[in-house]
Symmetry: C2
Subunit: 433 residues, 2 copies
């Protein structure tokens, strides 16, 4: 049973805080193992990668077969059905179109002192995208990570994907091809992250690593952070649906289940201003759980972490939403735009009953890599910006240095940084002589 | 002696790689101590903070005296000289003006399917800024961290600054006042980071923590990351100056020393296309080191990590600069804009001989919190963006869902995520009936 809460209850605040602080993930402590793997790859390079791949993926590689050849990719991609290909192409086009609008502009201006100031954006030179193997090998995630990188202008984009027993998902290769990925290494786990961060003879080092992965991959990303950039370490998926009674309970139930089916640790929450509607949705969830293919995952998620919260009105719903700061927020109410203006902290907002969250997972356009575990309070989903960095620019003229240099020298003196001050004063002396 | 390298030497590549990989910082391993402090503050709140402050800072606090009172701030600020105040005000005004231009715009549009797409920026609700005590208690750093937060729209901005033996730098309080900081806690170390991240009865939890600190503070920031956002963990400061022979050697020497005087682990590198000029700068550095107040810091930095590199031409200088990816890059050449277009990876670029890096530390306008240790390859300096997060928006119409929904359902099926597909198909069934 999911929890049923009601804001009019005297026990609500305590129960809501428990819900907020529920620990949904028990990450195994794999840090020592991962540290050993990274050291090994740094020291022995390709040889370590090949050994670890034989051990974990039961796949014998050589430096020559570490990346898929063009022929292997073509052969695999040819197996993709025309329906799947058309859907993936539509998704790629829409994701590209959305992310192209994110490209920020450079800016330069001259201020009243005569100084030129500004900034310039440039792309990370090389990026590596980790793609899990097996059940979580989602072609949509390839699009969501690779397209922003290429839109940003990343010159060299590599994928690392484990292919246990040699098996590969042809859709993953097609998604990589559609995204403009340059190289696909059939290597996974912490050894893939280490190779991308430090480089081997065969796998060239990159500057930034993104993409989801298991506990080993997450621990490896944390460890190489600093040597390279990384994206967020994502937790289990979450959805919050705020719905009034004028909704079809089964639609809302399916939206809740579309998060629950990802992971037993996923969390689906409904907030409604109509208790009877909340009950109807819970019943619809139970009915769907009787037949859902992934009921063995979605069932535990809903029972252990699901919640139905009844509120007095939608303003109260918005306030609770801001405390939850959900990864996905669906607003199925009469005025979703009005309510959306009040729900400040959320990774992605889906407005109105014709915008199921699943649209955003595939073809909406916005990125589906979003902040989990309440981190939408301070972070954003993946975007073109993650593959760009900004260089600030400044150029003083003699006039500008005369105008603002003395203040710099004054502050340098107050901070006891003599050389800082002298570097300005030496120039001012010349200008004033 | 700094190292002298020449790109025409057969040993250059090996020596340059050694320079690039030089480990300049030996962080003490304080993680276990920090973990204990964080646990203690989480469990015992104010009582732990008060005990730890008595122990480390020899200062007896109560919940009532944990934050500076308005009277205490006024009293301290009144001690600031009018020269220091005027300089700090000029700096604050210029930093604010620069950062106001960074505010990004929201964006919404309707695409050809009829879907509304877009994104919205919003500020982090509450931020905490750590300010070191003692020698590294720089008022300029307060401005550089606090002003971007307030420009972004952070509602509640708190500072934590240790005041060992009760001592405080009045300029730090003035800088906080000029920046619009709301509360100043006289608490430092890992206990301050823990209190800001988890909250105590007196110190309210924040969503994001920025600012420099010692090894304990850095380790604490790493540990609370995820619970709150953090900025980068900064390493020792660096400067790369690219200068041709038409420069005053003493000016360039002072620019190199203005990094070296920060820290024995700081690194100052000169690249020049004129070997004799390189020698002249090295001599000027030595001469300045005879009298510089902080020669006990700047001397070891220059001798252990300094370098003078002679190149064939400035294109070669740009290529080396991109491999170094310096925090600060000064271009003292005839065409700094032209050379700047080729130096892609740098935190901040200072163009021309009238733009000493120290200008950027105080009054230039751009932020002085910049990526160190080659991380300018993939990251940017502190900015307004660090205190904002983006929420993506999408709204399907029935027409849009008909157009793109089937592709979403197709991809959901290919990823074996049945509920994802059904959430779309259930709506399409209704629309098509």
């Amino acid at each position: 049973m999911p929890v049923f809460l009601d804001t009019t209850s005297s026990e609500f605040e305590t129960a809501f805080k428990t819900l907020l602080s529920a620990k949904r993930e028990d990450s195994p402590d794999v840090d020592a193992v991962v540290a050993g793997i990274i050291d090994d790859v740094r020291k022995r390079g390709d040889a370590a990668v090949i050994e670890l791949t034989a051990k974990f993926d039961r796949l014998e590689l050589t430096p020559e077969t570490m990346a898929f050849s063009a022929e292997q990719i073509t052969e695999a991609v040819d197996q993709v059905s025309s329906e799947d290909r058309a859907a993936l192409e539509l998704a790629a086009e829409r994701i590209r179109s959305y992310h192209e609008k994110q490209l920020p502009e450079d800016h330069e201006w001259t201020d009243s002192s005569g100084a030129m100031l500004g900034w310039r954006w440039s792309a990370v030179s090389a990026a590596g995208l980790y793609v899990p193997g097996g059940l979580a090998s989602y072609p949509s995630s390839v699009l969501m990570n690779a397209i922003p990188a290429k839109v940003a202008g990343v010159e060299r984009l590599a994928i690392a994907v484990p292919t246990p027993d040699g098996q590969v998902n042809p859709l993953v290769l097609l998604a990589a091809q559609l995204s403009g990925v340059d190289t696909i290494y059939r290597v996974g786990g912490a050894q893939a992250i280490a190779a991308l961060a430090y480089g081997t003879d065969t796998i060239a080092a990159v500057d930034k690593i993104t993409g989801p992965g298991n506990a080993f991959v997450a621990a490896a990303k944390r460890r190489v952070f600093g040597k390279v950039g990384i994206d967020m370490i994502a937790g289990p998926s979450e959805i919050l649906v705020i719905a009034d009674k004028d909704n079809e309970p089964d639609w809302i139930a399916l939206d809740l289940l579309s998060q629950a089916e990802h992971d037993e640790s996923a969390q689906s929450i409904l907030i409604t201003d109509d208790a009877a509607f909340g009950q109807a949705v819970a019943q619809a969830v139970d009915k769907r759980l009787e037949t859902l293919q992934r009921r063995a995952i979605a069932g535990p998620s809903w029972r252990d972490f699901g919640a139905v919260i009844t509120v007095r009105d939608l303003d109260e719903a918005a306030a609770l939403s801001n405390r939850i700061a959900p990864e996905h927020l669906e607003l199925c109410v009469a005025d979703p735009v009005g309510l959306g203006a009040k729900t400040i902290h959320a990774g992605a907002i889906f407005l109105g009953q014709y915008t199921p969250e699943a649209i955003g997972d595939y073809v909406g356009g916005p990125n589906h890599v979003l902040p989990t575990a309440r981190s939408a309070r301070f972070s954003s989903g993946l975007s073109v910006m993650d593959f760009l960095k900004r260089t600030t620019l400044s150029r003083m003229t003699p006039q500008a240095l005369r105008a603002i240099g003395p203040a710099a020298a004054q502050l340098a003196q107050s901070e006891s940084l003599e050389a800082h001050g002298l570097s300005v004063l030496a120039r001012l002396d010349r200008l004033n002589s």
